[in-house]
């Protein structure tokens, strides 16, 4: 079980209140986590990664275990604590002022 924390705007679109729990059958990777997320919540397709290039949207970051995993290869496994569900994977939107 992978635990995922989304930014508020994506939680509103997915109609979830807090964490999302995703069941990954094979090896958990950034790609498989996003595949599972988009399968479970189709409204989020294309919002964390470009629908065509599959690249992470540049103003989003992926954090876990106090590390920035954003630049990890999409097929790299997450930290064991994330894979086991002990720690969440956190999607953070870039800070913006006005």
């Amino acid at each position: 079980m992978i635990r995922l924390i989304l930014p508020a705007q994506l939680r509103a679109l997915a109609r979830v209140a807090s964490e999302v729990e995703l069941r990954i059958e094979a090896q958990a990777t950034q790609r498989s986590v996003l595949d599972a997320l988009e399968a479970q919540y189709p409204a989020l397709r294309g919002l964390l990664r470009d629908r065509v290039s599959q690249r992470r949207r540049p103003l989003l970051r992926f954090f876990a275990c106090q590390e920035d995993l954003s630049h990890e290869p999409p097929d790299a496994p997450p930290p064991q604590a994330v894979a086991s569900g002990a720690e969440p994977l956190i999607v953070v939107a870039a800070i913006a002022g006005g």
Binding site: Q9, R45, G46, R51, R57, L60, A93
Partner: protein, 371 residues
């Protein structure tokens, strides 16, 4: 009793304003899509309860939302907009080759007859169509493949396809406008495209009479006369009486012929409206007076409409998609400002009332006349 629904897209959310046919009392909805730029919010003529919204922000990209109940509830539909390669690059303003890339949808234009068919104008400039209510989108690739496309330039803002007009008498003819390339027409449902910019003169390009390169801000038509087009260009108000084959300037006595919006009275095809702006660098009304100008002669002769509009210290702009008309009698005219105000006139522009204020910067205004 008939009524009116005004669909307002803003930089931070969307609103729906509603009134009965008298159009004197308005109700403002709660904000929809909070935190998102709503480039365009529009409804189907074939089914007024079918609405579409182009929802974007720089964190999460593009969403298209659809409502089947007049905006009470919404559901995200398809957001896969693919620009196929193999067309080459276009030239950036700095002269470097730029690869075509989908960025966002600026404009949505529902079919006149089928609520599930809708056209979308994109940045980078491309035209898409969905025939399943927005779930799947297909590009009219031959527009970008036009021989002139390598000379389209983005200007300072963006190279986007911002206007789509469908000919109500000919399903195979439609018009599109690209910033800053100009107007194009297809007469065969998108198989071939023809630039229709003869008569436009633009001093900001090397050849002021060039085939493409003109910064067209908005074009409109009256549904009974689709060969007559009215245009607000970067500078100049123009008209064409031959479906865009040639244009003539009709700026006449306007205090400035710079502006973004233009619209046509619902029942008088020669009555048109513009909102003059001082200049390309000073995007506010001349003399800081918010004035809509009306011509009852299809241009040339214009009268200021001021009653109910602020006539001092006004420094707002009215963006290209932010004016609309209803089809009641008398015709209602509506516009939204970059200062977050929505003004309405229930008497063809003679008098105006403020129907909403202190909204975020208004990007689009569309009007639905309800049975």
């Amino acid at each position: 009793m008939s009524g009116v629904r005004v669909l307002v897209g803003t930089q931070k959310c969307a609103f729906v304003l509603t009134s009965d046919g008298k159009r004197q009392r308005w109700e403002l909805s709660s904000p929809h899509f909070v935190g998102w730029e709503i480039y365009h919010l529009t409804g189907s003529i074939a089914d007024p309860n079918r609405l579409y919204a182009s929802q974007y922000n720089s964190w999460f990209g593009q969403l298209i939302q659809r409502s089947n109940d007049g905006g009470e509830t919404w559901e995200p539909v398809g957001n896969r907009f693919v620009l196929e390669g193999g067309i080459g690059n276009y030239e950036g303003y700095d002269g470097t080759p730029q690869a075509w890339e989908f960025k966002r949808i600026w404009h949505l234009e529902p079919s006149l007859t089928d609520p599930d068919t809708i056209y979308a104008g994109a940045e980078d400039a491309a035209l898409f169509r969905s025939t399943d209510g927005g779930q799947n989108w297909e590009e009219f690739r031959r527009l970008r493949a036009h021989h002139s496309a390598r000379r389209w330039q983005p200007g300072r803002t963006a190279m986007c396809l911002h206007t789509i007009l469908l000919d109500p008498t000919n399903a195979r003819r439609f018009f599109i406008a690209v910033m800053a390339a100009g107007v194009f027409r297809t007469d065969d449902a998108g198989e071939t495209w023809c630039p229709i910019n003869r008569g436009l003169k633009s001093q900001y390009i090397a050849d002021p009479n060039a085939e493409v390169g003109h910064c067209v801000h908005s074009i409109k038509m009256h549904h009974t006369r689709p060969r007559v087009l009215f245009m607000q260009k970067h500078w100049d108000v123009m008209r064409s009486d031959n479906a865009g084959d040639s244009w003539q300037e009709v700026s006449g006595n306007l205090p400035s012929d710079f502006g973004f919006v233009i619209d046509v009275h619902a029942h008088e095809p020669e009555t048109i409206y513009v909102a003059p702006i001082k200049s390309e660098s000073e995007h506010f009304p001349p003399e800081a007076k918010l004035r809509v100008y009306r011509s009852r002669t299809g241009g040339y002769e214009w009268e200021p409409l001021t009653k109910g509009l602020p006539q001092n210290d006004c420094y707002v702009n009215i963006l290209r998609g932010a004016m609309g008309v209803d089809s009641l009698d008398p015709c209602g005219i509506y516009f939204g400002t970059t200062g977050g105000e929505v003004y309405a006139s229930a008497d063809g522009g003679d008098t105006w009332m403020l129907t909403a204020q202190r909204l975020p910067r208004i990007l689009s205004v569309e009007v639905q006349t309800l049975p």
